[in-house]
């Protein structure tokens, strides 16, 4: 079974702090994704990566950055956390290449910024 793990289930941070959310997958997937989930808005793509050190912006990249130094690990960074970044963050991974592949999701990190 594909397993996608996220470093924290719940996180509370203060405004202005630098926040790191970590995601690890164990299936050698090329693609990894970070989504933000808010009530009534569904999932919105923040960033994705299709290879080590490669990344592309999603729909809402402002205020976020990412890092992928190893194939299995994809980090989401909030450079200076703000209250409007309080949300559920979901990591996902999938096979790469030109085909369309289902995405496998982690359990999520619920971040509260006070």
């Amino acid at each position: 079974d594909v397993k996608v793990t996220q470093s924290s289930r719940y996180l509370v941070k203060r405004t202005g702090e630098k926040v790191f959310l970590e995601c690890v997958q164990d299936m050698d997937h090329e693609n990894m994704f970070w989504y933000r989930q808010d009530p009534g808005l569904g999932l919105r793509l923040i960033y994705f990566s299709y290879d080590v050190k490669m990344k592309e912006k999603g729909d809402i990249p402002e205020g976020y950055s990412v890092s992928r130094e190893k194939k299995e690990r994809f980090s989401l960074i909030l450079e200076s956390a703000s209250t409007n970044q309080t949300s559920m963050y979901l990591c996902a991974s999938s096979l790469g290449g030109t085909g369309v592949h289902e995405q496998y999701f982690g359990p999520g990190t619920r971040l509260t910024v006070t």
Binding site: F33, R44, S94, G99, V100
Partner: protein
Amino acid sequence: AQSVTQPDIHITVSEGASLELRCNYSYGATPYLFWYVQSPGQGLQLLLKYFSGDTLVQGIKGFEAEFKRSQSSFNLRKPSVHWSDAAEYFCAVGPERYNFNKFYFGSGTKLNVKP
């Protein structure tokens, strides 16, 4: 532009009753379609997917979905709901025209199951 609409925010059904969750999409070509389920406090789990072929797709946990191109719909059904089906359900369509990695997710439908 591609988009997914789930018209029902909340649905309540009695245990044992049938279920249909609606999903409509806007997409310029033949879509790839997915239904995911999210149990409370959990990530998303794939229920089923449609890529091509038979328009009636069977998934896990007794769910099925039917792709209707003429109606731009991919509705999820289950003949008899169990209390453990209470969760939030997301429809997704992809890929974006120039990016095989990008899917579009609906806003979700929360299912409550009455005993």
